[in-house]
């Protein structure tokens, strides 16, 4: 092995803790080393990995190379007049929030966790609770620097290497290693959100309120109780919010409106035993969750609204050592109610034991060939990986999603069959064409790309 490229073999997993795979891990310090690893590392392929927060095997490369970006975590510039941030791609959203919110800015699009890297966010083309109005992270992205499979450093924007720009958004790291990005942040009046909580007694009420009223709210998301059955199927709590202005805040919070409250973040200290999340406990939890959210409107700190699960470190451990699978899909507008109803009934009938799901309205798709959101409604269901094999249930869900013209989110996936990808992502051929052009020697790859044949010759 080239002595200038130290590597170690590690067992890695995604946030779902399964699968665990042996990978050859590189941790470069400088840009030129990234290029050298991509072109010359003695592994068949290499793949960039950010914070490892994708659930399945999107950031794994079994028996091949992984490039960690933890040394590329520098702020390079922040202009607090224009709100333009230039940073390295290993920086996390959490670190960005700490720096920019006290200066009056926030990320225009943010997913449900702040502990992802900017590079990972671009590679998954992440969306947030405002997708129905603002689209994905592509909205705030001005440009980025990418080392492609041929080892070349390229600037990518809507006008320069545009096809590479769009293919990299949602391209799951398969177009190269993202080194730096420039983002346009949005000004905010405070570090608070005005949150409105609405209880919806069933799926029909939820979808009706979501589709008819969401345009009046910048941000909207619903927590759905998957254990509620019969007439209560789809019972949920809708959490909608707008950025708070000073007059919305209490006198205490208004005195220092950009102050980010420090919250204790307890850690799940070890993998809980697999029986901890049994159906009875889940039912009690959901009942308490329902009762603890009376209809009301109140200001909440932005981290509390956007990242509720981040309040507990390593929350994935509550699912036990075998981990968790997340099944996130989107159903196109027009057939959302039928599609989601059928999925919930299938999950319920299988006793698949997903107890909470997250639903939100999605806006129009963008130009990225592998970007997940399309106009309709997206739902994410968590399933503990225990005892029963989930693959049969997921295969049934895949067929339903395809039948409704929907798709599964690849950054969350660990089970999809390769057959379904061209059905769900009709622009896959276009992605492969662009990918091959910049990676002629097939130096880039991932466990997910091999499982789903994402890079196969046409």
């Amino acid at each position: 092995m080239n002595s200038s490229l130290p590597a170690s073999t590690c067992s890695l997993a995604g946030w779902g803790l399964a699968p665990k795979q042996s990978c050859v891990v590189f941790r470069p310090e400088r840009e030129e080393q990234v290029s050298e690893i991509i072109t010359s590392a003695p592994t068949q392929t290499v793949l960039s990995r950010g914070m490892g927060r994708s659930y399945g095997d999107a950031a794994l490369n079994q028996n091949a190379g992984i490039i960690l970006h933890e040394r590329f975590d520098h702020f390079l510039d922040f202009d607090d007049e224009t709100g333009i941030l230039t940073c390295e791609a290993g920086l996390t959203l959490s670190e960005i929030i700490d720096v920019v919110v006290p200066r009056g800015f926030f990320l225009p699009v943010t997913p449900g966790t702040q502990f992802i890297s900017i590079g990972g966010a671009i590679a998954a083309d992440v969306h947030g609770k405002n997708h129905h109005l603002d689209g994905t992270i592509s909205k705030q992205l001005i440009d980025f620097r990418l080392i492609t499979g041929d080892g070349q450093l390229r600037n990518c924007s809507r006008t320069e290497n545009a096809e590479l720009f769009w293919a990299t958004l949602g391209g799951l790291g398969l177009t190269g290693a993202i080194l730096q990005a420039r983002l346009q942040l949005r000004p905010v009046a405070s570090a608070w959100m005005t949150q409105e909580t609405i209880k919806c007694r069933d799926l029909e009420t939820l979808l009706q309120r979501t589709f008819e009223e969401d345009d009046r709210y910048e941000y909207s998301v619903a927590w759905v109780d998957c254990l509620a059955r019969g007439h209560s199927m789809g019972r949920s709590i809708l959490l909608r919010a707008n950025a708070a202005s000073i007059k919305d805040l209490s006198p205490k919070a208004g005195g220092d409106p950009y102050c980010l409250p420090r919250a204790l973040r307890p850690t799940v200290p070890f993998h809980l035993p697999s029986f901890a999340l049994n159906p009875l406990n889940m039912k009690i939890f959901n009942q308490l969750f329902w009762m603890n959210h009376p209809d009301r409107k109140m200001p909440v700190p932005l981290r509390q609204y956007f990242y509720p699960l981040d309040r507990i470190n390593r929350w994935n451990r509550v699912y036990g050592r075998s981990g968790v699978s997340q099944y996130q899909f989107v159903i196109p507008a027009g057939s959302c109610a039928e599609g989601i109803q059928e999925i919930l009934e299938t999950v319920s009938a299988s006793r698949g034991a997903s107890f909470l799901a997250v639903l939100k309205k999605t806006g129009p798709a963008n130009q990225s060939p592998l970007s997940f959101p399309i106009e309709g409604a997206s739902m994410a269901l968590d399933f503990p990986n225990r005892k029963r094999d989930l693959s049969e249930l997921f295969a049934r869900l895949d067929r339903i999603v395809v039948r409704y013209g929907g798709r599964v989110y690849l950054a969350k996936d660990s089970s999809l069959g390769a057959w379904a990808v061209p059905e769900m992502y009709p622009a896959l051929g276009r992605f492969q064409e662009i990918q091959r052009k910049y990676d002629p020697d097939e130096r880039l790859g991932s466990s997910l790309s091999r499982r789903l044949n994402l890079l196969r010759p046409l």
Binding site: E29, R30, H74, F75, D77, F78, V99
Partner: protein, 108 residues
């Protein structure tokens, strides 16, 4: 105004951690190192995160003449003196080279 701390080899792993810790406390920094680009990105990082004054000096600590130049530049930048000097300089030459090349050995 606070007197700065000079960190030599501030772009090494330990240098980065020390630089960020001091910058968090509001300490102005003078970052010295061989790799100008790496030192500049570390300086930009400390400036953006913590709004502290940060200067970069390029120096090869294996060259005695450059060390004297470094001292002169520090005196210019910090006429009231410095609060401290932290050196994170390290070298790990190839073992065979160390045995066979006296110059490599002497450079340590």
């Amino acid at each position: 105004m606070k007197r700065p701390v000079v960190i030599v080899a501030a772009t090494s792993g330990i240098g980065r951690a020390i630089a960020r810790r001091l910058a968090r406390e509001g300490t102005p920094l003078i970052l010295a190192g061989r790799n100008e680009a790496a030192a500049k990105r570390m300086a930009a990082d400390c400036r953006t995160r913590f709004s502290v004054d940060t200067e970069v000096l390029v120096v090869d600590m294996l060259n005695p003449a450059e060390i004297q130049k470094l001292i002169n530049r520090i005196e210019e930048l910090a006429p009231r003196g410095i609060r401290g000097l932290i050196t994170c300089q390290g070298a790990m030459p190839d073992q065979q080279e160390l045995i066979s090349e006296p110059r490599v050995f002497q450079s340590l």
